[in-house]
């Protein structure tokens, strides 16, 4: 006797396989979305590498005379300009450099006495440009060690292996605040984009496809309200939900970094110190608005197009995943080029990072806000057209 559960199983499989949305989600979508997203992320990563190599950096040298050839090694490094300094700065920006080689005075004499020697490359891991500079200068660390050792061996006629210890290392001089700012700039834009998309998703589908599924659409369409009024009302409701998501997100982050961190034992003493001022919180909110409008309009358009809540939620989840991927694309960008600010969502995340690191480029800001606002208006027009199209509204 065939077990009853197999009958149920068979029916569910047939039912599922006859659902075009499931077929699309399981068998087609993965072959479209993931390669597309991987291609995009790879492109962004490749561009990051290329741009990183072209980045101009200023490299300070303290004790230049102690190591003959150090200035030339730096000068030969692509994009690096050596700068002579009298002493090591407390902060790199004080000396307007991105990294500093610090060679202590009397290196040769110290080695001749058999003392250990320490040469440092100071950089800031919390600063993209400084971090990139330190990576690029890494080969010079070996050159310095070799040069000091060989020089010692020649002067004493000894074997290089017998040289006193020479330590040539990189040292991160980022403060807790620097690290906190870097961490915040990396994570917060991504989280905000994620929160805006998540806040808009449910409301958008409920307000549009939900009307079809609940059989309230006909009543609505027969009222004196124009289709434009209906779409605008719905889009603003979705926007309100989306913005509420963003506001609660910003408030939650502010509370975490400015209040919770100060009362939870250990957090204050940790290696990060993150503070978000009210001015930055406001700027984050304002720059997030066009993206919230854009995502709301996209989701309303999708909701108008979808035949059922299930279909609408499937499509909306693709938008959500796309947003998450684009938000992820903002990670690891050194100094993003102008072209990156033409990509919606990614541009907002990058602009917000500039806000958080006090490196706002006005052209980037205008491009990001302009492009996103333009796309938001375009999507609202598309949503209104879809809501006015009976073939779309009543398709089965």
């Amino acid at each position: 006797m065939t077990a009853r559960w197999t009958a149920v199983f068979r029916k569910e499989i047939i039912d599922t396989l006859r659902d075009q949305r499931t077929i699309f989600a399981i068998f087609i979508f993965p072959f479209l979305l993931y390669p597309a997203m991987l291609t995009l992320l790879s492109w962004i990563e490749t561009k990051n590498d290329e741009e990183s190599k072209l980045l101009s950096v200023r490299v300070g040298i303290v004790g230049e005379a102690e190591i003959p050839g150090l200035r030339e090694w730096i000068a030969k490094t692509p994009g690096a300009t050596p700068v002579t300094l009298d002493r090591a700065p407390e902060r790199l920006e004080d000396a307007n450099v991105n990294a500093v080689f610090v060679v202590p005075p009397g290196v040769e004499a110290a080695m001749a006495r058999g003392d250990s020697v320490k040469v440092e490359l100071l950089y800031m891991d919390a600063d993209n440009k400084s971090s990139a500079a330190s990576q690029r200068l890494s080969p010079i660390l070996d050159d310095i060690e070799r040069s000091l050792t060989v020089s010692w061996a020649r002067s004493l006629g000894a074997r290089a292996e017998a040289a006193p210890p020479v330590s040539v290392d990189r040292r991160d001089i980022s403060s807790k605040t620097d690290k906190g700012r870097f961490f915040a700039a990396l994570l917060i834009p991504y989280l905000l984009v994620f929160m805006v998309a998540a806040g808009a998703m449910q409301t958008a589908i409920d307000a549009t496809t939900g009307e079809k599924e609940r059989s309230t659409l006909e009543t609505l369409l027969s009222t004196a309200a124009s289709r434009g009024d209906l779409v605008m009302g719905k889009a603003f409701a979705v926007l309100a939900a989306s913005i509420t998501g963003a506001v609660t997100g910003i408030t939650g982050l502010w509370l975490t970094f400015n209040v919770v961190a100060k009362v939870v034992p250990g957090m204050e003493q940790g290696s990060l110190q993150i503070t978000i001022g009210a001015d930055k919180a406001l700027l984050l909110f304002l720059t997030l608005l066009p993206t919230a409008v854009f995502l709301s309009a996209v989701l309303v358009a999708i909701g108008c197009f979808a035949r059922s809540m299930r279909e609408g939620q499937t499509y909306a989840s693709y938008v959500y995943m796309g947003s998450v991927f684009l938000g992820l694309g903002s990670f690891g960008q050194q100094t993003p080029s102008q072209s990156r600010f033409f990509i919606p969502i990614l541009n907002t995340a990058l602009l917000q990072r500039e806000i958080l690191t006090d490196t706002v480029n006005s052209l980037h800001a205008v491009t990001a806000i302009g492009v996103t606002t333009g796309l938001a208006i375009l999507m609202l027009i598309i949503a209104t057209r879809l809501f006015s199209n009976e073939t779309v509204l009543f398709r089965t």
Partner: protein, 252 residues
């Protein structure tokens, strides 16, 4: 007044090709009259009514509702109609009052006018028990009463009912029919579609039998009944739509 002349609607289906849902339908419905559009499921009743409510755009013919062309002056038409379908639902998460306020606002009524109108209709539609209850918690009969209130709320000249008793029990259905008769007495223009002949016999003054998008018979109840020896509207309907008995008259 509703005047329909040669109204057509063709849908394009990828698999079936062109589907002619409504093919040259013509009729007139006057104030103080209930015009019945009778037909089987899929006959073209709902498509016709959706066109009159400006939800769908006709592919041919013309129609005016309350003196306004349904294509050229669709916004004016919508201001003057109340539309109710048996399949139409309400918003479960709103209370009766919130629902009426919402549709009042969509009709362009001020908050004061909405409040006044709720006061006017409370006794007539026994709204007291509905106003502060969420729609999701109402019985089917209560919901339909609220639906009818919603239809008449902005005081429309023309009312379009598409099988409004579908899914209702006998008591609820009777109360809906009684309300429609009451609206007729007030001089409203009412078009009413159904496939239940007894309902049509109770409330309609004039009927049209529609089948496959075409009106096969049209006239007063009396003239339609005269087409069959049994003088039953149901018999005439069956004869007309199945072609049995060849029932026809000049009104067709």
């Amino acid at each position: 007044m509703i005047q329909v002349s040669g109204l057509q609607k063709t849908f394009h289906d990828r698999k079936k090709g062109d589907v002619h849902a409504v093919q040259g339908v013509s009729f007139t419905c006057r104030p103080g009259q209930v015009f019945g559009l009778l037909g089987r499921n899929g006959a073209g009743k709902t498509t016709t009514l959706r066109m009159l409510a400006t939800i769908l755009v006709p592919t041919g013919g013309t129609a005016t509702v309350a003196g306004f062309d349904i294509v050229e002056k669709s916004a004016d038409v919508r201001r003057r109609i109340g539309y109710l379908s048996g399949e139409t639902k309400l918003y479960d998460r709103l209370t009766g009052r919130e629902l009426l306020q919402y549709f009042g606002a969509l009709a362009g009524m001020t908050a004061t006018a909405v409040a006044a109108r709720i006061g006017e209709l409370t006794e007539r539609f026994a709204l007291t028990e509905l106003l502060d209850v969420r729609v999701g918690k109402m019985s089917t009969g209560m919901k339909q009463r609220l639906s009818i209130t919603r239809v008449v709320f902005h005081d429309p000249e023309v009312m379009i009912f598409d099988e409004p008793t579908a899914g209702l029990d006998v008591i609820a259905a009777r109360s809906v029919l009684a309300l429609i008769v009451d609206l007729k007495r007030q001089g409203r223009t009412i078009i009413y579609s159904t496939h239940i002949m007894t309902e049509a016999e109770r409330i309609c003054d004039e009927v049209a039998i529609i089948e496959r998008g075409k009106i096969l018979a049209h006239g007063s109840l009396e003239s339609i009944r005269n087409q069959s020896a049994s003088r039953s509207l149901e018999d005439v309907f069956v004869e007309v739509v199945t072609g049995v008995g060849g029932g026809s008259n000049g009104d067709r």
